[in-house]
């Protein structure tokens, strides 16, 4: 079978099966938190506006915050119970996030749902509004509102939907378990998206280190119109949107463009499963599969309610095995470190990786020896060592115009391979932030 790939990239933790052995064979287990703290700014775009107040009783799936602005999604209660607080908490964002805290009463009462019916027969024009109402946004990590992705502006033609089941990130097995245990949900979600957008071709892309998932999805996809399964080479960042499109379709997303400029929409398999729920059962997005791995007593794949506190998630896996040094929200390559374990699981958190204090230590930076390994590793074909040099010299214009730093996807491959342990990716993130701020000013 042909294995799709791209130039560059790395294979982190090759000797230990990308760290996935810890949770690979653990079935998804549902854990319902006693208290959930749901942030209003989980998605990209304006934060949602709370419509409940302290003391209100809410049911599961009840809308607790209204979407604001063009790219916003509503937020729903993930447990039934009483709202105990509407206040700002410091999450992973720059500024504190407005959060609604709900205490679970354990009754698990749902609101009245309005399902659209089977994905093959439901009215195609009702699917996108249903996705918006369900509060679905990209569950692979970026949390971009899905209904926006599904409605390309006039003039853009989308001919293929890619479902991203690469899960190239280290340690995480959430998407793998989802594809293995509930392949119908994933395929149904893909069909719903294809019908809503009028697209004839859908490919579910899975890395070759998940043969069981490929088997399960192939079985579930048999006989479904236009659904294919693509095998990817195990490589990081295979799951990056632009890398995935290049690998599978051989198309390049133009510089500064979006996947839809290449005629493609890429969705995470988790998002597809959530879309299937929204269409078939009318359920909003209230829970997600999250891998809890690393220095916890019993690493596991949990089905967690949105807003579960990180410490409760760690507790459900037997607590910390060692004093935690770093808690990555997401995998260890792309994840963001949480400031403390009081932060909560958002719609995009596919994993929680705990490093002990020893692992959390960063090596000291030394001088660049110009070995060029970063150039080999860069999946976007940039020149990291030269960009770092220009960053240090403050030549941001040069970085922007000649070295195209804005195309950097911040995957961290260059930093990973650098023998001098240079802080390459953070420097590029900083440069991108400065240049973005400059462009906003103009």
């Amino acid at each position: 079978m042909r294995k799709y790939s791209f130039r560059g990239g790395i294979h982190p933790l090759r000797d230990t099966h990308e760290g996935k052995e810890l949770t690979r064979n653990k079935p998804i287990r549902e854990v319902v938190a006693q208290v959930v703290r749901i942030p209003m700014d989980m998605h990209i775009g304006a934060p949602s506006e709370p419509i409940v107040k302290k003391g209100d009783r809410v049911l599961i799936g009840q809308k607790i915050a209204e979407a604001v602005g063009g790219i916003g999604v509503p937020v729903h209660a993930s447990v039934s119970g009483t709202v105990t607080e509407v206040a700002a908490y410091q999450m992973m964002h720059k500024k504190p996030s407005m959060c609604i805290t709900i205490e679970n009463d354990g009754l698990e009462e749902w609101v009245q749902l309005a399902p659209l019916g089977d994905v093959e027969t439901a009215a195609a024009d009702k699917i996108i509004p249903a996705v918006k109402e369900a509060g679905i946004c990209g569950m692979g990590g970026a949390c971009f509102p899905t209904h926006i992705k599904m409605s390309p502006p006039a003039g853009k033609v989308v001919d293929t939907v890619l479902l991203n089941g690469a899960e190239c990130e280290t340690f995480l097995t959430a998407d793998f378990r989802l594809m293995l245990e509930q392949p119908e949900r994933v395929v149904n979600g893909l069909r719903a998206v294809m019908r809503a957008m009028g697209v004839k071709r859908g490919i579910i892309c899975i890395e070759d280190n998940k043969p069981e998932a490929i088997q399960a999805i192939t079985k579930a996809a048999a006989g479904r119109e236009g659904v294919e399964v693509g095998t990817l080479k195990t490589k990081y960042p295979q799951g990056g949107e632009k890398q995935l499109i290049y690998s599978v379709l051989g198309r390049e997303v133009p510089a500064g463009g979006l996947p839809m400029d290449a005629g493609v929409v890429v969705l995470n398999v988790g998002t597809a499963a959530a879309i299937a729920d929204a269409v078939i059962e009318g359920k909003p997005l209230i829970s997600r599969v999250t891998t809890i791995s690393g220095a916890v007593a019993a690493p596991d794949n949990l089905l967690l309610r949105i807003g579960t506190l990180l410490k409760d998630a760690a507790e459900a896996c037997g607590g910390y095995a060692k004093e935690p040094g770093k808690i990555f929200v997401g995998g260890s390559m792309t994840g963001v470190c949480a400031p403390n374990d009081e932060a909560s699981i958002s719609k995009a958190n596919n994993g929680l990786v705990v490093f002990d204090e020893k692992d959390a230590q960063l090596p000291d930076e030394s001088s660049c020896i110009r070995c060029g390994r970063c150039i080999d590793a860069c999946p976007v074909w940039l020149n990291p060592y030269q960009m770092k040099r220009d960053y240090q010299l403050g030549k941001l214009d040069e970085m922007e115009k000649k070295l195209h730093v804005m195309e950097c996807v911040l995957c961290g491959s260059c930093s990973y391979v650098c023998p001098a342990r240079q802080y390459l990716t953070p420097a590029f993130k900083d440069a991108k932030d400065i240049i973005t701020a400059r462009r906003m000013k103009q």
Partner: protein, 265 residues
Amino acid sequence: MSTNAILYAIAVLGGLGIGFGLLLTLADKVFYVPVDERVVRVREAVAGANCGVCGYPGCDQFAEAVVRGEAPVTGCTPGGGASASALAEIMGLDNVDVEPTVARVRCQGGDGIAKDSFQYQGFKTCRHAMSLSGGPKLCPTACVGLGDCERVCQFDAIRMVNGLSVIDPDKCTACGACITECPNSLIKLLPRAATVTVRCMNTQAPKPANLSCDHACIGCKRCEKACEYDAIHVTNFLAEIDVEKCTLCEACVAVCPKQSITVSK
């Protein structure tokens, strides 16, 4: 070797030298470009740091702009009052009065004083540290202490002491480079005479402010009551001194329960 050969060589080279010398003298006279002598004098009177605070690429361009009348004579902040009056004299303007200013850090939250939210390690720039989860300190406007201002200062006036940026007022030329660099906008350009300053920018509510830093302004308004000159006001849980009205009586310094108001050099 005969003596003649040596003399011959000297004569040829000497002759060439004299010939080219005459040619150059001639070229100098023929292709003479008149230079406004005021440009030279202005160039000598400014600070000469090529810092760019005047808005021109360097001191030469600034001097030309001053002589053309495009740049104000007060444009050279590092040069201060001395350069401004010298420039005014050269340009034949009335003597201008420039109030000397100095950059002051409005934070006292060094290591152990402003409490940590998390331990930051890795890429050592304040801007990057501030982009993560609201920054490594509990106070959202605390000095991060990774030295972005120190690196940008051309006059060696900034030092990081116990994780806090400290500006030496004797070396500071008020060029303003650090002011734009600080991600928390903690450094302010204040008149040199205004020595009583609120060294805090925390606008959190009293309770979190109290928890986040030993020297945070909690907005208790004691200073407002103590001031006889209506010069200090608390807005948004933060005291601000009106430098026009302040008489440096230090009454507010005495009553501040958190030592947020200090007397600087």
